[in-house]
Subunit: 155 residues, 2 copies
C-alpha cells in the first residue's frame, strides 16, 4: 500500500480515537466519570460480579490498569471489592447500588453518543460498522490468539 493511503487510514483511526474519547469525556464528566471507567461499569452491569483478571480480559487493558481504575471507582463508591472465597489471590469486583444507577445513566449517554457518531451515514453502512471495526481490531490484536484464517506467512 502506498504511504498516502496508509497514512490516511492510520491517521483516521488515531483521530477517531481522540475525538470519540473526547466526546465521551464531555458526556461522562457530569456523572463524575472519566472515559474508560464507563466500560468497566458497563461490563460489570452486563456480566455481573467478576475478578479483576476477567475485567482485564473483557476491557482489553492490562492488570495494572484495572488495579488503578477499580481503586478509583471504589473510592468514589461505585464498585466494591471482596475477597474471592476459593482463591486468596483474587478480588471479586461488583457494582454498588450507586454504581448500578450510574451504569443506567451511562447507557443513555452511550446510545446518544452512538447515534451522534453515525449521523449522516447510510443505514447499511451503520449496520456493517461494528463488524468492520472488529475485523480491524482483530487484525492488530496482539493479545488474543490470532485465529488462523487461510492467510499465512506474516513476518
Amino acid at each position: 500500500m502506498d504511504f498516502e493511503r496508509a497514512d490516511a487510514l492510520n491517521q483516521a483511526i488515531r483521530l477517531l480515537s481522540l475525538r470519540h474519547r473526547a466526546r465521551a469525556a464531555a458526556l461522562l464528566a457530569p456523572l463524575g466519570l472519566h472515559p474508560g471507567q464507563e466500560a468497566l461499569l458497563l461490563e460489570l452491569d452486563r456480566t455481573g460480579p467478576m475478578i479483576q483478571a476477567q475485567l482485564s480480559e473483557a476491557l482489553g487493558c492490562e492488570p495494572p490498569s484495572v488495579t488503578l481504575m477499580t481503586r478509583k471507582l471504589e473510592a468514589s463508591g461505585h464498585i466494591r471489592r471482596k475477597p474471592a472465597p476459593s482463591d486468596k489471590r483474587a478480588s471479586i469486583v461488583e457494582l454498588t447500588d450507586s454504581g448500578k444507577a450510574l451504569a443506567d445513566q451511562v447507557k443513555g449517554l452511550w446510545c446518544a453518543l452512538a447515534e451522534e457518531t453515525v449521523t449522516g451515514l447510510p443505514a447499511e453502512t451503520v449496520a456493517e460498522l461494528p463488524g468492520i471495526l472488529n475485523t480491524l481490531t482483530g487484525n492488530v490484536d496482539t493479545r488474543r490468539p490470532r485465529h488462523p484464517q487461510g492467510h499465512r506467512d506474516d513476518g
Copy 2:
C-alpha cells in the same frame, strides 16, 4: 438506537483505539518512539517547519500536549525549535536530519500497519474506510466548527 447496538459500536471504537495504538507502539518501539510522536514527525515531514499552534491543530491535540511531545522529541534530537522571527511568542518546530531519517522509517512501518489492519476486508470497503472514519470523527468533533445542518436546541 437500542443500547446493544450503541454499545457494540462504542465498544468497537474503544477497542480499535486500544489495539491499534498498542500495535503501533510495538512497531515504533524499536525506533525509540512512543505512539503519538510518529504523528508529529510525519506532520513536520509532510508540511515542513511550523509553529506549535499549527501542530496542535494538525495533530488534533491540545497545546500543552504539544509542549510536552516536542520537548521529548527535541531531547532525543529528532526535532529542533527556533524562535519565530515575526512573533516573539511562537516557536518554529522543524525536523533535524535524524528526525527526517526517522520519519522515513516510520513511513515504512505505517504502510505495513495499514495493510495489516485491513487484512481480510474487501477492497471496496478498504477504499471507503478513511472516508467513513472521517465522517465518524467529524460527527463527534467538538474542536472544529460543526457544520450547520438544520438547527436544533442543544441543551
